[in-house]
Symmetry: C2
Subunit: 308 residues, 2 copies
């Protein structure tokens, strides 16, 4: 049940209408791996950092069974850095600063010990980097999940479309689904996108929940209405990590199990929003996660008798 | 199980990115009554029109058991008219023209035969008109549902707050909930609004579904992802009509039955979006409605075992 996770391990600086941080730990692969570690004893990371990244965080990852053999540490260089400011509605944000640093010429290397990978999570990154990882695997994994964003649709659409042919599940938000498909209706968008390669499409709608499409079936999971959204940074990555972590731990790729995995991902993501950075994710206990999943069960539970 | 419906019966002219209409039948009470008529043999309407309103539509209403004794017809005057244009996303619209006409000095009169009303639906209207209806009832109905919008919060907030004290269920959209409560979090907004009077709050989120709040419980029903949204005009009113029609027909005001009523309302609303005006609502059959409700059941259906 080996899971390989590719993505950024980085620093963020975040401003919201309710507060701001100094430099905090961030990066798609960080959130994915931490979320997945709640369901898996072990996973394997592929990423790159500078020598400015705290050893303490790396130790924390190792203690959660996250194998760092595929994490390149570039001496004398700096880790990727992103700063952003959320708007009042928390659904949109402006990038204030991006320092690519070590990411500028990142060439992922898949260690030998990773090559029997059964589950592959390609976090949001240059599609060329995502493809380089896929190309190094001698066998196709049982499940390949790819997350991406509008930025890559704008500047690397051809490469993105090439990678899409290699993946089973694509996760993007509703605006990105519309951009990628050139369709406003999400039903039509899903059909077009699934024709590009992924057999499953997950459309993330933030506070409005997530949709799963597969063939002619659709499933919807709401987001939990929260008392307080402190910082949504990493919520989408946390969702992906919970999703693939659950699938890898259960080893069941049926549509019914995908639905469960989406609820688990949504539950994990709701925690991430409760504090700045991955802080909330680091303090979670299994009973807390189960109680949160139970809230999702109750939120959509109803029975109705159709009398025809 | 008598249901009294108060609201506009009117004409609309609608433009969407996908087409435009000439003058078509519209009005909150029209949509509410037509939707409810799928669940109820009879209902009673309170509204006002001019003598320009087609007799054919009135006959259609009567044939669906909609009692028009409370419908004032003003000779020599014109019916309320609204023209609007939807933006590309179909979630927002601009008003192009409003002619109040008969609505300008509407004084609702509750006929004697309406006064034993058990279910009262106060459709979107001047809160003073809504209050005038409530004040004419000798007994409090079993359930009072009120729909309103930001316009009345802007110009008649005090009167609106007065009516809110008399209602059981309020239906508004997410932005309106935020405006009314001055809270961004919908959980906090719901708590504040329920303290204003309504024991139940339904937050309508259009294509993102609907939330029901009551005490410390929440329920979420998605909107059905549609192939094609032709015209969302009247979808919120249709939702309200399906909701109260189902409750009145089942005579069950438990939270579980409210949840079913929300699913029924959502299903009815999804039909309204499929054609311009109330056209789709007029051609519905019971098996079609049941099949649509079943799609909602399947859309959110999942089972997950929590192993702790």
């Amino acid at each position: 049940m080996s899971l390989v996770i590719v993505g950024t391990v980085a620093f963020d600086r975040i401003e919201t209408p309710f507060g701001k941080t100094d430099r905090v730990i961030g990066g798609a692969a960080t959130y994915i791996a931490l979320a997945a570690s709640n369901y898996l004893q072990s996973s394997k990371l592929i990423s790159v950092i500078g020598d400015d990244f705290p050893q303490e965080t790396l130790n924390e990852m190792k203690s959660r069974g996250i194998d760092l053999e595929g994490l390149q540490i570039k001496a004398g260089e700096k880790s990727f850095f992103w700063a952003g400011r959320y708007h009042y509605d928390m659904n949109s944000r402006d990038t204030l600063e991006t320092q690519l640093n070590v990411l500028a010429d990142f060439k992922p290397v898949v260690p030998e010990s990773y090559k029997d990978c059964e589950f592959l999570m390609l976090g949001n990154l240059d599609p060329a980097v995502q493809m380089a990882v896929v190309d190094q695997l001698p066998h196709r994994p049982r499940l390949v999940v790819l997350d991406t964003m509008n930025f890559w649709m704008d500047i690397a659409l051809d490469k993105l479309k090439e990678v899409l042919k290699k993946v089973d599940v694509l996760t993007i938000n509703d605006e990105e689904a519309r951009q990628l498909s050139q369709e406003h209706s999400l039903v039509k968008a899903a059909r077009k996108i699934m024709a590009m390669g992924p057999r499953y499409l997950i459309i993330k709608k933030g506070e409005h929940g997530a949709l799963l499409f597969h063939e002619n079936s659709a499933f919807f999971a709401p987001a939990l209405p929260l008392e307080e959204v402190i910082d949504p940074t990493g919520a989408g990555d946390t969702f992906a990590g919970g999703f693939i972590g659950y699938l890898a731990s259960t080893q069941n790729l049926s549509f019914d199990n995908m639905k469960r995995a989406i609820v688990v991902g949504s539950a994990m993501a709701s925690f991430t929003c409760e504090k700045f950075g991955p802080e909330r994710l680091l303090e979670l206990t299994k009973p807390e996660i189960d109680a949160r999943v139970q809230q999702f069960v109750e939120l959509v539970d109803f029975d109705i008798e159709l009398v025809g």
